[in-house]
Symmetry: C2
Subunit: 379 residues, 2 copies
Amino acid sequence: MAKKNSASSSEKAKLSPRDERTLGQLVGLADAVVEAAEKRRDPHVDIPTRSLSNVRYNQTKRIIEMGRNTTRRQLFNLSQAKSFMQTLLVGSGCRQLIEQGKTTSIRGLYYLLKHTIEGTKEETFNDQSECDPVIEDVEVILNSLREEMHLYAQKRGDMVGEIVLEDSGDEIDCARMGSGGYGIPSIVEPEVIRFKRCDAKFILHVEKDTVWQRFNEDKFWRKHKCILSHGAGQPPRGVRRMLHRLHNELKLPVYCLLDNDPWGYYIYSVIKQGSINLAYESARMAIPDAKFLGLRSRDFERCSLSPSVRIDLSDTDRRRAKQIAHYPWFEKKKPWQNEIKRMLENGFKLEVEALISKDISYVTEQYTPARLAEQDWLD
Amino acid sequence: MAKKNSASSSEKAKLSPRDERTLGQLVGLADAVVEAAEKRRDPHVDIPTRSLSNVRYNQTKRIIEMGRNTTRRQLFNLSQAKSFMQTLLVGSGCRQLIEQGKTTSIRGLYYLLKHTIEGTKEETFNDQSECDPVIEDVEVILNSLREEMHLYAQKRGDMVGEIVLEDSGDEIDCARMGSGGYGIPSIVEPEVIRFKRCDAKFILHVEKDTVWQRFNEDKFWRKHKCILSHGAGQPPRGVRRMLHRLHNELKLPVYCLLDNDPWGYYIYSVIKQGSINLAYESARMAIPDAKFLGLRSRDFERCSLSPSVRIDLSDTDRRRAKQIAHYPWFEKKKPWQNEIKRMLENGFKLEVEALISKDISYVTEQYTPARLAEQDWLD
């Protein structure tokens, strides 16, 4: 198979209990194949189906979940043989990463595993788009996050505020991170990140780095005893998982300050309920109690904003807004229906930055403190 | 003009010498207009021309510079009146920011200044694309970086390594930043960032966050006594300015580890010589002594890479490569001509991640140390 050897035992890193578990599951996956072969049965893997038809909204847990449908992938089936082998190849690559105590990106794993199969002209993967879904398959088979398989995603987003944490043995005091902040890592599992001391009472998560800079410059987090984070738009996995851990382990409420537009609603929806594509991760990523602090459709009037700051809704905006209004977790919520209806009636959207037209620090000194004091948010 | 008052004196922040200087220049800009009006002359501003025809490569300084051409913008000229007023409006907005001791994004400034002109239906700016070039105009008029006008850009990129710096009064030990790193701020001028102690001997700047994570995980910067940075692709202004300051003030060589493709060449070109669009900033952003460490067109053979990792050049790649080969700062350099020629002959490009096919840590343990030891780079 792969042209490089597995890590020799001398290279093996000391494994954490979680690594031991993931490794055990990976070995179990391979063992099942060996066992089938020994019993002269067709080797196969059953993969929970990652399609819209197998995704549902769990009303009790209030997260998007996968159903119980699985798809069988067999070695001795011409149309499945390649993806069967790719599945095991990804498993063996992750085993190598865990044993070496190293991590890589999904692009890195692709390069690690890509090679021409001996004696053929066939590539193990033609391009990365063939490898990525197989990584997701292995995640659902093992019920592991890819971070547990030592794979990291793009790294974006920063945080500051009233918390001290330990990252890979280094103590990070997020209250002493200057204007730059602590760059949220891609892998924030407990083996890497430990929370040491927390004086924060809540988390304010803002959409954009530029808004985050305003809040940090005004030291909002010090005055209001909070943690301030951003995810440079749609937050990457590391930021979502960090918020999830802070929320669940330290019992910190999460308030989201996003634009008053369908994209802002969508970002909130992913933070809160999980994403449809990656429904299997919701249990460890979604934060059903997250609140939408603003901007709100009524803010144009409530804050007496200048007509100049309105941005007309496009046809795409209107279509997206209607789709989002029909998401099961918004559909039965009157306040959300009113919110979206009012934006459509307004005919315009509002960015958080629009509040600057009132005053540079209006958002940090008036808007956000008022919403928090009045507990005025959408759920 | 703007509907809000200028900062009252009680709001005025204590100004740094640099703020005093920028403010003086802004006031001077306005004074010239008042003076002209008093003398019953047409008020105007002369703006250094920001077009390709007025950009040249300075062979001695080895940076892209602006020429001496200027364009006159007059108030009493129907086609120039609006942009004349926009110019003064941007000036007055920046004055307000400096006086209040606050910073904002270019989008923030746009919102701050956008309003309907009283008694008309005319907007000061129709959209941000009308405001951004005026900000650049004011930068060149004042010969100030926009950061000095209290405007920040998008914030991207992280750093770690053997340096302790002070950011807004907080001490940041970049050798104790865990897996996340210090998020490089957008404004890194000496008023915000001071270098306290530096044990680094050089800077390794890598293109992508995912590659940066590999180098950080392997603690490359500790073993090789360096600073490790990335700019999430084309580095934003804050990262370029940080590298410039580290290079010039601490005399640290800068080595760039970028992809072997036209985009990698272009990123290097901007770091080294400045960008054509923003030629007026080169003196404080460009690093003519930066080196291109790799990847190199010969690495496919030199490192015995698997044919699987090659990515075919597209027509756009070929066209871009030929353009870049004709940049004046590459045109007379034989090694660069050979480099680009060989890539075109290869017919494929190589990403830094391709080295993972050798071993996960090949890039940190073998490739980069070998290039550094052999002083094998392009200039």
